[in-house]
């Protein structure tokens, strides 16, 4: 039972990061009808922006590093929307997919040229100390990572349900034409959506960098793949559904690692995806018609 609880906690930590990155994918896909394959690399840029701030100003601490990650990722996300997504909006979905994939490749390899292809040490902004919660033992860094992601997920849920712009975001996701006819500036909301998703990814990335103590130019691949699977498994109708699936996939991976084998961990998400696509091709929580 202790192993189960420990793996459950570990899974929630990793799953919360999947959920944040997956929400970024889902926001772009539902609101802009864009599969933003640069999103995982914006996550990576946020991680390095935080690293830079953490190295240059270690006395300013974790919060300032988070802000730097959000600003760095947000700036790249904004430039991506202005330079690639907006000019291609309304055209075939493959065009934006290829455009964002190209930007992603440039970001990955550009960063690899700057910092090298190997992992770079992340400043130890949070002590490695363990905290015992009953039979579960988590590090301070795990708790910080989980807290940041949970705050982001709660915040985005409040945004889409409790604010005027959030309601407009959902309105565009469901019926963009009607939303425009009722006074919603669709282009403005699209810009903000990419900015928001990118800043969230940047914040989560910094907490992941601190958690593992390293940053890597190709780290976006791992999180991007899992997050994309989360969106496909959940469907894009409910953002909260994407969050739940992100957390669930994290937990399932941790349980597979704990009870079966760590080498099967990454396969678990793909098995889930295949099962869901077979039985519920629109995702567990349904999808908007494209």
């Amino acid at each position: 039972m202790d192993l189960f609880l420990q793996q459950l906690a570990n899974g929630l930590v990793i799953g919360s990061t999947y959920a944040v990155v997956a929400i970024g994918f889902a926001l772009a896909f539902t609101v802009l009808r864009v599969i933003n394959f640069a999103h995982p690399d914006i996550f990576m840029v946020g991680m390095f922006a935080g690293l830079l701030a953490g190295v240059q100003t270690p006395w300013l601490g974790f919060l300032v590093t988070l802000v730097a990650g959000a600003v760095g990722a947000g700036a790249v996300g904004f430039a991506l929307e202005r330079g690639v997504i907006a000019p291609l909006r309304g055209r075939d979905v493959l065009m934006t997919l290829i455009g964002t994939l190209g930007v992603g490749i440039i970001l990955q390899n550009g960063m690899a040229v700057i910092v090298g292809p190997d992992p770079v040490a992340y400043p130890a902004l949070i002590p490695r100390r363990f905290v015992d919660i009953g039979p579960v033992s988590l590090t301070m860094r795990q708790l910080a990572n989980f807290a940041v992601c949970l705050l982001l997920l709660t915040g985005v849920s409040f945004y889409v349900r409790g604010t005027t712009w959030g309601r407009a975001t959902r309105a565009i996701a469901e019926r963009p034409e009607v939303a425009a006819a009722f006074g919603v500036n669709v282009a403005r909301i699209c810009q903000f959506t990419i900015l928001l998703a990118s800043m969230m990814a940047g914040l989560a990335a910094v907490s992941v960098g601190v958690l593992y103590g390293s940053a890597h130019a190709f780290i976006g691949l791992l999180y991007g793949l899992k997050a994309f699977i989360c969106m496909l498994v959940a469907g894009n109708r409910y953002f909260e559904g994407v969050m739940v699936v992100g957390l669930a996939i994290g937990v399932i991976e941790a349980l597979v690692t704990g009870y079966l084998s760590s080498s099967l961990r990454d396969a678990a998400a793909f098995f889930i995806l295949i099962g869901v696509l077979y039985f519920r091709p629109n995702g567990l929580f349904g999808s908007y018609a494209s």
Binding site: R167, V178, A181, F182, G183, N185
Partner: protein, 240 residues
Amino acid sequence: MSALLAIEDLSVSYGVVPAVRNVSLEIEKGELRVILGANGAGKTTILKALLGLLRAKSGRIAFEGGQDLLQLKPHEIHRLGIAWVPEGRQLWNTLTVLDNLRLGGFGDMDKAAVERRIKEMLERFPRLGERRHQVAGSLSGGEQQMVAIARALVAAPKLLLMDEPSLGLAPLVVRDVFALVEEINGMGISILMVEQNAHQALRVASWVYLLENGEIVESGPAREIGSKERVREVFLGGHA
């Protein structure tokens, strides 16, 4: 006095296929005019061009004698005081009734006025008041039509565009919807409606345009148009 809305020589195409050809029509303040036409005649295309949702090939649409609507974006057109009741309701089905109404007033900066109008709508339609926290997709067709109309009225429009408000509704509900249309027009809101239900449309309209294959082939007072042989045969099943 200039018309509230004046469409001049509007042409719209889907690719190379013309959908609307040289349509001209106008509506005065407080009037209720109807565009009558069969499926595919181009009725919805005219409304969508007017709302900025479709790019016109040529023409001009003046609202209150001012700027050409064809040069504006949809949200800018909405701000001028034009609201839409789309064909098939097209509510945001995953949002609550209340959220649908709130989005009706999205473009209005005076949020207190929006909330006041929402309250008025919920009082005017008590069934919606009871179901305001329910998602719109769970309502019946008639209730959804009420939400669609209330959503448009929350925008406090000067001109209401109604796209086949009777479509897919039971006959008793259709009667209620047209009674509501008359009531809204009685409040001084101008209405441009496109319809296939000629019986009801001819009863409530002051002026009717007959649209065939994207062109206006007849126009005139509703009573006069209703008595034309062509209209009686095509739209009224041979009855006056």
